[in-house]
Symmetry: C2
Subunit: 342 residues, 2 copies
DNA sequence: ACACGGTCAGAAAACGCTTTCTGCTAGAAT
DNA sequence: ATTCTAGCAGAAAGCGTTTTCTGACCGTGT
């Protein structure tokens, strides 16, 4: 009767407690808990009972330390507020949880100079890392990768180094969007650019340059803009001034901001000007008019990233690097070019 | 010359390696790395040098084990795709990173029966936990809380138990929205309900009941709907059939879906019917027409949650439980009630 | 000159586990 | 009946740290 309390205590019961209660050694408890072969059924039962009544479960920390694996994956994103990364994170987290892996998330809040240390720090507490660093300079990235392995890149071409990666092909996506607008008769286009340093922006610019090179009749203007609603909204001015007939927004957010500003000014979309976004975020379908855009299956991007890191974690070779070719989704915000009286 | 490699190796250097290289004991290395008082400057320098050349940094795992703290915080959300939780997560993550805390995120994917074990599992790898579980039954929550401490609740009234919490006051928000519409002359309202079990939905219903009780002249219909675009879109049918003059959508997503469907049918907002959302997600400002809604400062919710868990982690008492009173943001989607020929 | 106290470095214990190694017991084989 | 072997439980080492404890050395005070 004067024995230690029978009820499970706050947080604390350790393997030693269980061993004591079941009158066996630590080793035996460990074996039972890990379903090891060959331990006397009677003992095993006693141990399980003791564990249960003490509410015991092994400390993940101690376990990780000795096993050398944490069952945790790090994910670095530049901005949790960005639908693209949210989607990728979702896909990733789903895959991870299915394998009972945990996800440590590090938001660099666009502080690209801190990304390096953030990634390293996060990586140290995990078994692997998935990195989204669209604006990290190529050389810094290359130098960082070896320290991070196993690592999977999202939306970054691992140029030199042979890292695993999954990405959306922004180049191809924009090319298709250009063709879409071109086929509608637009020859005066405006591209509202995102962040100069971002790889995804460079890809788009490259697509524009190529298109321009083979289409003399078309003029594509480029205006710096940004990546959010507000910037898109503010760009209405530029759009009007440019007297172009179609606008390629850096992404759907920008497009939506722009759409809103144009509507306010009484400029009709697509009758007066066509607007195309990029990404096909869930909202795009529900704008007025619904937004023409290029799909980027962000959630699948995350899933594929998980698949690759999972392979890596198990010592297998990851699947081939993947590049999703976005598809144009023609919706109401783009239409035939208006006949403009010069 | 025949010494061990001087360059930093992959991942592996341990404190022992550093000690060996610096010709001192482990204890000394540890002291130096932790900026401990009183260690001979010469030795200290030698240690630092060794650590640097080996690329050493202490294993967070081992450190956590002995220190009894992981520098990590768990966050459980029901759905990473939901802007509300995204915002809260952002706010939280920002605060955490400022204190160089890490964030482990667990997405229950709306599997409310797994939330319990998910939370416990996550909690075990962390120093504390922030829980968003809008649909977990009260009794289960109450039973869970003691196992999770220190814990902060988001959007849950900790009824009996005295847990720290931050929440949006959905009741008050909806009341204000009702008043807003009432003052515009609407007497035939329709509420598109969210998930039956969700606390935030119950709060709204309660607000409706109260309002109804004091406003005989007003009829408020309730229709089950959902929490996403698609459900809002699909609800257009119901809205039209109800012949009400104003719709209170469960949230902005539903409102946007509805808006889109109404526009497609040529129903004018707000001339024919007023639509109000809830949450004031960033998109709400940019719909056509801009969406009247009630602000819920989700990011601040996250920040405040961080403040409280941080206090708890430091053995201080958390600030008083917080309830944000949403503010109505009147925008273009609500207007005077139309004169309807009976 | 000797005892005493104060610095500071190393030895060792502890954190909570897993796993190898050791040793005991009992059953089988000769 | 005796030895070999298999089977299973406990002892102990090890994971990489921090921190307490121990002990050496040096300076000071009498």
């Amino acid at each position: 009767m004067g024995k230690p309390p029978a009820t499970a205590r706050r947080a604390g019961s350790t393997i030693t407690d269980v061993a004591a209660r079941a009158q066996v050694s630590l080793s035996t408890v460990s074996r039972v808990m890990n379903g090891s072969t060959s331990v006397d059924p009677a003992l095993a039962e006693r141990v399980r009972e003791a564990a249960l009544s003490l509410g015991y479960s092994a400390s993940p920390l101690a376990r990780s330390l000795v096993l050398g694996k944490t069952q945790t994956l790090a994910v670095v994103v530049p901005d949790l507020g960005n639908p693209t990364f949210q989607g990728a994170l979702r896909g990733l987290s789903e895959g991870a949880s299915r394998e009972s892996y945990h996800v440590l998330i590090a938001d660099s809040h666009e502080q690209i100079d801190e990304e390096r240390v953030l990634a390293i720090e996060a990586r140290r507490r995990c078994d692997g890392i998935v990195l989204c660093a669209p604006r990290m300079p190529d050389d810094e990235l290359a130098e960082l990768l070896p320290l991070l392995a196993p690592v999977v890149l999202i939306n970054r071409d691992p140029s030199s180094s042979a890292a695993a990666s999954v990405a959306a092909d922004y180049r191809s996506g924009l090319t298709q969007l250009l063709q879409h607008l071109h086929s509608l008769g637009h020859h005066e286009l405006l591209y509202l650019a995102g962040n100069e340093k971002a790889a995804s922006n460079r890809d788009r610019l490259s697509a524009i340059a190529d298109f321009q090179a083979t289409h003399d009749e078309t003029r594509i203007e480029v205006a710096p803009c940004g990546v959010g609603f507000a910037e898109g909204y503010a760009a209405a001015e530029t759009v009007v001034a440019s007297r172009t007939t179609a606008v390629l927004a850096f992404n759907d957010l920008v497009a939506m901001g722009l759409l809103s500003a144009l509507t306010e000014r009484g400029i009709r979309v697509p009758e007066d000007v066509s607007v195309a976004g990029f990404d096909d975020i869930p909202f795009a379908r529900y704008t007025t008019p619904p937004l023409t855009t290029a799909t980027v299956p962000v959630e699948e991007l995350g899933q594929q990233a998980w698949q690759r890191i999972w392979a890596l974690l198990n010592g297998r070779a990851p699947a081939y690097n993947l590049s999703f070719g976005p598809l144009v989704v023609p919706r109401g915000s783009t239409g035939p070019a208006p006949h403009r009286p010069a």
